[in-house]
């Protein structure tokens, strides 16, 4: 394997993109994604990476450029946050329906308003149904690894779908920490050259992004949904091969002391590591508690989740976004639905926390556990979601 380096996670992400030898990068700067694209612009300008860096005037154009470049068979990367994602929204959905394997790092940041540059998951949840593969990571190493994973999975001919790596803004992007790089040989073994199923070429014309009349739209949606669901075996295979090469094992649902635990925290992204410290401390106090971390968000890992959650009496879902006018957070709402037909369905208690970068500490997670333990055992009640720490 490569060198172990102390560096900013954004720079590690950009270096991974460089090592993946992308052909085209199109992006528009937005906090907290900036360091990633700045570094990529630098390595292209310095000749360290033979790629086109296309500076665009908006995120809508960034994703449009990505569609074009991916369609001609170029390995394509983009990166954005929050309002940037909102602005590219239209093309995000189109990229997936055109089955273009663009890779995006989304430096997760809250959506305005009020205007906020800080971290939560409201941006990615706004495009939950866009048809991209969506994964979450917990630390700098996972960011580096998952950029390699992203190109490998997205471009696989069995998948051919775009992929978002969700990286918590600031909490991960702006932290210096150790990251073990891959050596060039490992990258080469893991990531084959991009060979698209179809590509735009004057010698062999194809139509991409065609008009879909009522007579065909339903069928294309079915095909797209199936493609996303059927991507899972390739996703698992890519993680397995990474484990073989790096010794790091990733799973759709990560478990920590989950087996036999009465209460399980469910986390996504960088809060997972801090929660694991709270789990350790609660267990030391004799509490029956464990943790699940959802790494694969789309396609949702139904089987893996039900297995990992089996036997739990309560699941504390930590949401990082508000589903306005709904039943709490988008993740908890979904988890209730996933577990609905289970025998002895666990109680799903939903805390919404860490919105727009509000700091959540080990003590806070322990307080959530205590609060949940005193709550009703009834299955679903509207008051089962709590905006943790809100001043009213």
């Amino acid at each position: 394997m490569g060198e172990r380096v102390g560096l900013e996670v954004s720079i590690a992400a950009a270096e991974a993109v460089k090592m993946a030898n992308v052909d085209v990068i199109a992006a528009y700067p937005i906090t907290p994604q900036t360091h990633i694209v700045e570094h990529l612009a630098e390595v292209v300008a310095d000749g360290e990476l033979d790629a086109e860096f296309i500076p665009v005037e908006s995120e809508h154009s960034a994703m449009s450029v990505c569609c074009g470049s991916s369609a001609v068979g170029a390995r394509t990367f983009t990166c954005t946050s929050s309002q940037g994602l909102a602005l590219m929204n239209e093309i995000v959905f189109i990229t997936a329906s055109m089955r273009l394997p663009v890779v995006m790092v989304l430096a997760n940041r809250s959506l305005s308003g009020p205007l906020s540059i800080w971290n939560d998951h409201s941006d990615v949840m706004s495009i939950r149904d866009c048809g991209w593969i969506q994964v979450f990571v917990e630390n700098g190493q996972e960011v580096f690894d998952h950029i390699m994973f992203a190109f490998r999975v997205a471009e696989s001919q069995k998948v051919s779908l775009p992929l978002i790596v969700n990286v918590d803004g600031f909490i991960l992007t702006h932290v210096i920490e150790p990251v073990e790089f891959w050596d060039a040989e490992t990258v080469k073994n893991y990531l084959p050259p991009f060979k698209p199923v179809n590509r735009l070429h004057p010698d062999n014309p194809v139509t991409m992004g065609a008009f879909g009349m009522p007579g065909i739209y339903t069928e294309t949606r079915k095909a797209q949904d199936s493609a996303l669901i059927e991507a899972k075996p390739e996703i698992l295979k890519a993680w397995q091969e990474m484990a073989d090469l790096t010794g790091r094992h990733y799973k759709p649902v990560e478990s920590y002391h989950a087996e036999g635990a009465e209460t399980l925290f469910l986390t996504m992204g960088s809060i997972g590591e801090t929660v694991s410290v709270a789990v350790d401390e609660l267990r030391a106090e004799g509490k029956s508690v464990g943790q699940l971390s959802l790494r694969l968000w789309r396609p949702f890992p139904f089987e893996e989740f039900r297995q990992a959650a089996a036997g739990a009496k309560r699941i504390i879902v930590l949401d990082r976004a508000v589903s306005m006018g709904g039943q709490g957070g988008p993740v908890a709402t979904e988890i209730r639905s996933v577990l609905y037909k289970e025998k002895n369905m666990p109680v799903v208690t939903n805390f919404l926390c860490g919105l727009a970068g509000r700091d959540v500490t080990v003590e806070d997670y322990k307080a959530m556990f205590e609060k949940a333990s005193k709550m009703s055992k009834r299955r679903v009640r509207e008051e089962d979601y709590i905006l943790y720490g809100v001043r009213e």
Partner: protein, 183 residues
């Protein structure tokens, strides 16, 4: 695990120096984190930066509310910010000041243990500018022994190129001149 909170003003390099200590610690084979208090950056406004160093992987990702060490780059901040807030029992405050420990404790009513060094003077002598961030890292290492001072030499060189050596010399001088209460 050692947890350090740095106080400075935007432009004084608190974040940079935190990053350099973390990089040096990682190069030593340790685990470390450095990060700023995230927000809009404004020159002159009070800023905070954080360092964690440990022998094993660091899982905490929240801000450091209860530091072992507080390091203040700019003495004028003590009037503006409660720098000792949350300091662990037995923790220490490292101040960049020309005053004695007794004077500064009395002046600002600091009850915690204090270490001092006149880093502004040392930095001005060595770098020709009163930018004390890299210099103060000498004091941090003297007080905590968190890394070997030599580890900063490479980190400074990597970040500042030719100016790395001057910064390192300044840092070494601060290491030598740091005065600690009770030692």
């Amino acid at each position: 695990m050692l947890e350090v909170r740095l106080h400075g003003r935007g432009g004084q390099g608190a974040v940079t120096s935190a990053e350099l200590v973390a990089e040096a610690a990682i190069n030593e084979g340790k685990y470390a984190q450095a990060f700023p208090s995230f927000g809009p950056e404004r020159r002159g406004a009070p800023v905070r930066a954080f360092i964690r160093v440990d022998d094993g992987p660091i899982l905490l990702r929240n801000e450091i509310d209860e530091p072992d060490v507080v390091l203040v780059l700019d003495p004028t901040l003590i009037r503006v910010v409660n720098v000792t807030e949350g300091l662990k029992k037995g923790g220490i405050v490292i101040l960049n000041t020309s005053k004695s420990i007794a004077e500064i404790k009395k002046e600002y009513g600091i009850t915690a243990k204090v270490a001092t060094v006149n880093a502004t003077r040392i930095a001005t002598e060595n770098l020709g500018r009163p930018i004390a961030n890299t210099t103060m890292m000498g004091a941090l290492i003297k007080v905590t022994s968190v890394i070997a001072i030599e580890s900063l030499q490479e980190a400074f060189g990597h970040r500042f190129g030719k100016l790395g050596e001057k910064n390192y010399k300044s840092c070494q001088m601060a290491f030598g001149e740091t005065v600690m209460e009770g030692r």
